[in-house]
């Protein structure tokens, strides 16, 4: 998709292109471009937390029940969690539907 429009004028840009508000990235949902997402089969999950440890985006959070769920607003779909899961409980599913070849 070609991007053609500016989102802010050059006269109103912050000085020097600086980001003046610390931690502003938290406002942005950065995972919207992933091509695949992790889906965990809780019947295989042993709650070891390997997915949580290895996730480079720190997208995994633990639920009250002790399972781990990836926040898809930040998950980039890299598949490291699926690769590292010792029980093979995580499957990568293509965003467009259907199962990934690599999974």
């Amino acid at each position: 998709m070609a991007i053609s429009d500016a989102i802010i004028g050059w006269k109103t840009l912050p000085f020097g292109g600086h980001v003046l508000e610390p931690g502003s990235t938290a406002k942005f949902k950065t995972g919207d471009w992933k091509s695949q997402r992790p889906v965990t089969d809780n019947s295989k999950c042993i709650k070891c937390g390997m997915c949580w440890i290895f996730c480079p985006e720190m997208a995994y959070q633990q639920t009250k029940e002790g399972f781990y769920v990836a926040n898809l607003d930040y998950c980039k779909g890299c598949g490291i969690c699926a690769h590292e899961c010792p029980k093979g409980a995580i499957t990568m599913i293509a965003e467009e539907g259907g199962k990934c070849q690599s999974a």
Binding site: I8, K11, L13, F15, G16, V19, L20
Partner: protein
């Protein structure tokens, strides 16, 4: 009181950096800039300047370090030449849009190959579009004065842009000249303490140099370009204040015997002094010849240049750079663009001269003027000519 001393220009430049109270000096030695940073390291080591002298491992590191220290709010100076400037290249494009007012002296030198330590302007012409303010000094006094001016203007909150003062390698950097060194009180009056808009400070965090996605990149570059163009007003004000305090007036473009001149030599840097001698001799012989010298190269002073050339019919532009495969040398090309289709504009020819330390003598200037006048009548095949090149 200021005093007139006989001193090597590089040493005077280093002393001027100390007078300007630089706070961080990340530097790597390279001929012919070495004496500047060597002397600065001595000044700092001897306790005469309260600054961090950082002996970095390369020019790439020197410029990276300079960006960091300037971002942290420190008055930052470095110097380099030739291959060193090229090694900085990747970083040189950062401080402009990021509005970091680093001041740098470039002792201009040729680029390899073949390896040459001698003077021309090829090193800086490669870096023409880095988005720094750039001036060219003609002599030792001007090198010192333009350096103080650089600190005054770069850090001005209306400008906040990096600044290069170009001095010709060896022909300026290594000669001993009589130079009026200003005293500390005068310099302190001229250059106020550095007060940046923003600085890296954990108590008030900001991020500098983030990614510019396609939706903002054009606007970021536009903002920088507009800031650079707008800096001219402060550059001129800086020279006016300089004249008030130190008594020496500088302009973006200087003229010498241009009244009623039909042919004008156009030069930058120390070569202009020889050109003035040549103009004197040609004037004595009845030729209507003058000299226009460009001191401010970026932002280019278009209106001042147009005014300086008056009604001259021919411009003989000296390009101390041979851009292979190009239509014309960089200064010639700039002036052709500036004057294209301007009513009554002169004919412009570029003469590539003084490469890699080759002297451009008074006789060469006369040859250049003769050729320019000939080409004005009979247009040559090329828009430039390499002067003094031996065929066999």
């Amino acid at each position: 009181m200021s005093k007139r001393v006989g001193v090597e220009v590089s040493i005077a430049v280093a002393d001027a950096v100390a007078l300007a109270r630089a706070e961080v000096i990340p530097a790597y030695p390279i001929t012919p800039q070495t004496h500047i940073v060597e002397h600065l390291s001595e000044i700092v080591a001897n306790g005469h300047l309260d600054a961090e002298f950082i002996p970095v491992e390369s020019e790439h590191a020197a410029m990276s370090c300079a960006c960091g220290s300037s971002a942290a709010g420190a008055r930052t100076f470095t110097a380099t030449s030739s291959q060193g400037l090229s090694l900085m290249s990747e970083i040189l494009y950062h401080p402009g849009p990021m509005r970091l007012p680093i001041v740098m002296v470039v002792a201009n030198r040729a680029l390899a190959a073949p390896i040459s330590i001698w003077n021309d302007h090829q090193d800086i012409m490669v870096q023409r579009d880095i988005g720094w303010i750039q001036t060219f000094a003609e002599n030792g006094q001007e090198a010192v004065d333009l350096l103080l001016h650089a600190f005054r203007v770069a850090e001005d909150r209306r400008v906040a842009l990096p600044f290069i003062v170009n001095i010709d390698g060896f022909t300026l950097s290594h000669v001993i000249e009589p130079i009026i060194m200003p005293d500390q009180e005068e310099v302190d009056r001229y250059i106020p303490p550095f007060k940046p808009h923003y600085k890296l400070d954990p108590r008030k965090p900001v991020s500098m140099g983030p990614v510019g996605i396609p939706e903002v990149y054009t606007e970021e570059r536009m903002a920088h370009n507009e800031a650079l163009k707008a800096s001219k007003r402060v550059i001129l004000q800086g020279w006016k204040e300089f004249a008030e305090i130190f008594g020496r007036q500088y302009n973006p473009v200087e003229v010498y015997r241009t009244e009623d001149a039909e042919t004008l030599l156009v030069t930058m840097g120390s070569i202009s002094e020889t050109a003035m001698t040549a103009v004197d001799e040609m004037r004595n012989a009845g030729k209507k010849v003058g000299l226009v010298r460009i001191r401010l190269w970026r932002p280019f002073p278009g209106p001042e240049f147009r005014k300086a050339i008056g009604k001259a019919k021919t411009l003989a532009v000296i390009d101390r750079c041979l851009p292979p495969g190009a239509v014309c040398g960089p200064v010639g090309a700039e002036l052709r663009s500036l004057l294209y289709r301007v009513p009554g504009a002169p004919k412009i020819f570029s003469f590539v001269a003084g490469l890699g330390g080759r002297d451009v003598t008074v006789d060469r200037f006369k040859e250049i003027v003769d050729k320019a006048e000939l080409y004005a009548k009979k247009r040559p095949v090329e828009l430039y000519e390499v002067i003094g090149v031996r065929e066999k």
